[in-house]
């Protein structure tokens, strides 16, 4: 179909169709075959086969939802089932660009579904609009480069024809980073890196691997595992998020205590910018060569160029893994324990502390127990903790743990951590609870879609904060959310909860979740955004950072200046001005 002169008849050129797009929802989280629903008996059920929880009945969820949000099974707010193509604006194409693009052989498409799929991340307002069938500005064209050189060609053409490029990896952004700027009049081209998904080499001598940046987390781990290695980088979005995306947002993984965050893992990066390719000349493990240029790239959020190839550290796969959990009488004790663990620098691969609300929420997600015996054991455990140990079920909270490494060392490590926990009143609560906690991490994202079927909207957001402020920030932000919702006329008190998900020497990463029933509100999304804004203000006022790993995008950029100071802002701007003077990478993030 080359040389097709009427663009409207030629929707795509070899658009690759092996992509995740086909098995994923267009207006919600994750795989199309996987979701929560209430079956005919009115019981919650998790469909599909992909997860441990898949195919199971979750008996307590309905009651929890009704009790927490005041939802009613009769009052549904279902999504528009399919995209109405007419809702999508016809593409504004730069014909000269498209003509030359064809000659490069790089596949592209301006099919409405392809474009809409790449026009959003997973912010509440983005998903809410899609569910209502509303589509705003979307990319005019999607291209699928197959390798670094393809990207070089695309960027050259874009510069030549003044086309706006928006890099696209896994589409899991929660910072409005993928939203097309409303004011953009040029043709917008989404550069989908999903075809650049190969591991190019593994260097066992230096324990590094070189990958194309479009590779998705779960594929990367699977492929490395086949060779007996792993990166150990496991962000909660790893099923869908890409290596390039991690680099561009300064991602953090659950097991950073062993493997480090993305900035600790990256050895070498190649990025294509309008000024050419930027990369270092060697792979020395550390350099003193002025400010690290990697730090211009990491966190650039697609404003400077496309990350095409990355060399990362790899590790032999852990010999042994063990989950665990600890119940604390209250959140304060839990935080004190985490702080002590950090002080002694003995944090396991992962350690997370949920507050009481989340603990209860986790309980509501327990699948139906299959045997009388397990149910009996559960009851006994509950009795022991609440009656015998005197824990108040409305105060207690739970930490989940994941240990990794050499078996002997894991067991030793485990003992050390449990001993510390005991000093803070913590009781070991078993492997199952721990494992379920981590499994829920992947499943929880699906739950928002269920909520939205019943007038419940919600979001999570994160921050990092010094240790001495952890308790204060948790209390104040949760209280602020509740107060803002009340002031704005939300009838039912919102679900406002948090957990500490990472520990550092000098502080912790805290995740907040909030959700509420929006029945009766005229503009729920706007109200929601106001509450989210207020919550972020509260975070900043309490010494929290603008973001620990989600990034700034467009959602949080209003606070950038006060975050990095005028001069800091100027530094970032001057880099942008040099690297991309014509704002080819015009997604408008960050600055």
């Amino acid at each position: 179909m080359y040389g097709c002169s009427n663009l409207m008849y030629c929707i795509s050129e070899h658009a690759p169709h092996s992509s995740l797009q086909e098995i994923m929802k267009w207006n919600g989280w994750g795989y199309s075959d996987t979701k929560f629903l209430f079956n005919k008996k009115g019981q919650a059920e998790f469909t599909g086969k992909r997860y441990k929880l898949s195919g199971m009945i979750i008996p307590a969820l309905k009651e929890w939802m009704e009790g927490t949000f005041g939802t009613n099974m009769q009052h549904k707010s279902l999504a528009t089932p399919a995209l109405t193509r007419t809702a999508v604006q016809p593409p504004t194409l730069n014909e000269a660009f498209v003509e030359e693009l064809k000659s490069t052989g790089v596949p592209f498409s301006h099919d409405a579904e392809d474009r809409v799929f790449r026009a959003h991340g997973h912010c509440l307002h983005e998903i809410f609009a899609l569910r209502e069938g509303k589509v705003g500005r979307v990319p005019d064209l999607v291209v699928w480069p197959n390798c670094h050189n393809d990207v070089v060609k695309i960027v050259e053409l874009a510069c030549k024809h003044n086309v706006c490029l928006i890099p696209y990896g896994g589409g899991t952004s929660v910072s409005s980073a993928l939203e097309c700027p409303q004011e953009e009049t040029r043709s917008i081209v989404s550069v989908d890196t999903s075809q650049m998904n190969r591991i190019l080499w593994i260097d066992e001598k230096n324990l590094t691997a070189h990958m194309e940046a479009g590779i998705v987390g779960q594929d990367l781990e699977r492929l490395l595992n086949e060779s007996g290695y792993c990166t150990g980088h496991e962000p909660d979005s790893m099923e869908f998020s890409s290596l390039g995306g991690w680099v561009a947002t300064r991602a953090s993984g659950m097991k950073k205590n062993i493997y480090g965050n993305i900035e600790d893992l990256v050895i070498h990066v190649k990025m294509v910018t309008p000024q050419g390719v930027v990369e270092k000349s060697c792979q020395g493990p550390r350099m003193s060569t002025g400010p690290d240029i990697h730090h211009f790239i990491m966190g650039s959020e697609g404003t400077l160029g496309v990350v095409t190839e990355v060399t990362m550290k790899i590790r032999p796969m852990p010999e042994y893994q063990k989950y665990g959990s600890v119940v604390f009488p209250n959140f304060e004790q839990g935080v004190a324990c985490l702080r002590e663990v950090a002080r002694q620098r003995c944090a396991p691969a992962s350690i997370r502390l949920m507050d009481n609300e989340q603990f209860k929420f986790g309980h509501a997600l327990k699948p139906q127990v299959s045997s009388m015996f397990t149910s009996f054991l559960e009851g006994l455990k509950k009795f022991y903790i609440t009656k015998f140990k005197g824990f108040d079920p409305d105060c207690l909270c739970v930490a989940t743990l994941l240990f990794e490494g050499n078996r002997e060392k894991v067991l030793q490590h485990e003992k050390q951590v449990y001993d510390i926990a005991a000093k803070f009143g913590g009781l070991a609560a078993g492997e199952d609870n721990g494992q379920r906690g981590y499994m829920l991490t992947f499943v929880i994202a699906y739950l928002r879609d269920l909520g939205m079927d019943y007038y419940v909207i919600g979001e999570s957001f994160e921050t990092s904060v010094p240790w001495d402020r952890v308790l204060d920030i948790c209390r104040n932000v949760k209280a602020r959310i509740i107060r803002e919702c009340k002031d704005k006329g939300v009838q039912f008190q919102p679900f406002s909860t948090c957990r500490v998900t990472q520990t550092y020497d000098a502080g912790a990463c805290v995740y907040f979740y909030f959700a509420f029933n929006y029945r009766g509100l005229s503009d729920p999304v706007h109200m929601f955004e106001e509450v989210e804004h207020a919550a972020r203000e509260e975070i900043l006022a309490n010494g929290g950072s603008l973001s620990h790993h989600h990034g700034v995008g467009k959602l949080r950029k209003a606070w950038m200046r006060e975050t990095v100071s005028d001069v800091g802002m100027g530094m970032l701007k001057s880099v942008k001005d040099y690297v991309d003077p014509n704002n080819i990478f015009g997604n408008g993030n960050l600055l």
Partner: protein
Amino acid sequence: MASSNAYAQRDPMLKKRDDFEDILEERRNSSDLRYALKCYTPALYKGVAPCKSSMLKSMVLQSDQLHYVIQQVSKETGRQTDNVQEEVSAILDEMAHSLQLSTVRFFAFTLSKIFKSLFKSIRVNEEGIQRLQQAIQDHPVVLLPSHRSYMDFLLMSYLLYTYDLTLPVIAAGMDFMGMKFVGEMFRMSGAFFIRRSFGGNKLYWAVFSEYVKTMLKNGFAPVEFFLEGTRSRTSKSLIPKLGLLNIVMDPFLKGEVFDVHVVPVSISYERILEETLYARELLGIPKPKESTSGLFKARKVLSEDYGSIHVYFGQPVSVRSLAEGRVNRCQFNLVPRHIPGRPDEDIHSFVNDSAYKLVRAQEDNMVLKPWVLLASLLLQKQAVGQEQGTALDELTAQAVWLRDLSRQYGAFLHWPDQMTPSEVVSSSLSLHRGLVRTCEGKVQLALEHEGGAVGPQSAAALEEKLLSQAVIVLSCASYRNQALHVFLRPALLASAIHAASSNQKQEVFNSFSFLRNMFSNEFILCPGATVQDFEEACYLLVKTGTLQVTQKEVLVNERGHRTLAFLVSMLDPFLQGYQVVCRFLCEEATETLTEKQFIPAIRKFIIKHLLAGRLRYAEVLSSDLQKNSLAAFLRLGAVEKIKGVDQETLKVNAAMVNSLEDTLGGKLPTQKAVVARL
């Protein structure tokens, strides 16, 4: 009119206030003993169990804040940390309350007896109590009662006990500690004691602020203190002190609590127990040191009728909402919060503005009795020299006129509408028969002693007579002062119109601004709110038909003269007083005048002027006015403190004082350059 909305918000007539209930009524009908032994189970802050005072002490001792300061002091002075620690412990022991329910019950019993014999009623707005109860459960609470009497804090605790609310811990001055037994009783009823001055003592400040913050942050009990710092002897609200307010706002500003709710409480006494005591004190007859035996001598007061008390628990004010858009809390992100630091300029001005707002909230909810209006009228009459008094019916008619005027200005006037005006007037007069005399249907202040001697008298006798008259005048003035906040802004405007050389609006504003600036140590005038106050005054005077205010001019209506004259007379004693102080500074202040000598010297000067008939207002003898005016002159730079060899002396800028005097007297126009434009 575009600004009509802004006016409407300020319209005092729109204020809605709660009704009152008399709590003594139940006391008169049921057993005090049973009441004192009643089951007391207050609702607690987020269900926090109250904290034993020993536990509280150890929390304070173990705090990061104190650790830091102890280390610092030890480093600076070379003392052992143990030694410093001991000092801290001792300070804490001297300071800490040791609230005991049994003592509270004892007070509940005795105070019931005392209150019933002293007062007709103690009226409380129960809606305010309900709001307070809610606030106590949701947030750490700070109670800010007005301070007119020793009775205030006992009364507050008594009320909270009566309504089954968490008993407050109260910041009290150390002078109480002089009374051994009573001091300990107060301690056991929840008072904690602060030294009056501890300026440079870092350690003391650290212990004190940490003690207060620990109680507040943990929500153990409402913290109560007096924003005015001390009892107002004049019944005018005092310029707020910021120290404690700073401390209680700090936990919010630093994110240690979600919010702090501050509850202004207005306690209005129909008759103040310390009435003449205060007057004497202001006249320089020294205040008796608080002593237990002195308190018992005060038993005489128990046999008199002190009318009723109104206590209004105001709307809880959220510190969070006060700070919204005013304070950037991020400023505390970069230094560990346990390291003490001087508050930044913006924090200081925020706390200062909040303090003024809160004092004004106290003022707004002060209940005024008809007597307050009568006292205002009688004082004005006395000053113009109506020797033979005012006919009762004339006074009644004027009181009714003033009643209506004050209501239009938003006064919280408690005028019994079921009685005829003349009944209201005569019952007020009879309650205050020590201050007024009715003779042959004519009313006047009780200034003359029996058989007021004619003929020549010695200078000392004349002075003594003058002082005893001044006691009556100052006592009366303290009642008039209760209403000052109602008339203050209109009165400033009226005086400005009076003083301005034309009715150009800008000119009047300049004059208003000058007066307001001059008197900002005397009255509660929020800093930086000149334009707002001017607009408010204009609005009130226009609304009541006194003025017409156009774009350019301020015009007095024909029927407005009476109001204007009244308002001008209201402020006149202060205007005259400040001018006399100017005279003194120019004529008598020597190079070696110290601040200590200032009051006795000026008192002598004023007595001379009064006796010579050059000054009409005996109330200028009030040391309060003299101190305030000196503070104003110091602030304006007309007087300077010069550090001498062994003491500070006052250096007078005679030219400036002269020009201030002339401007106050309306002889000089206000300079435009120094004041903001409207």
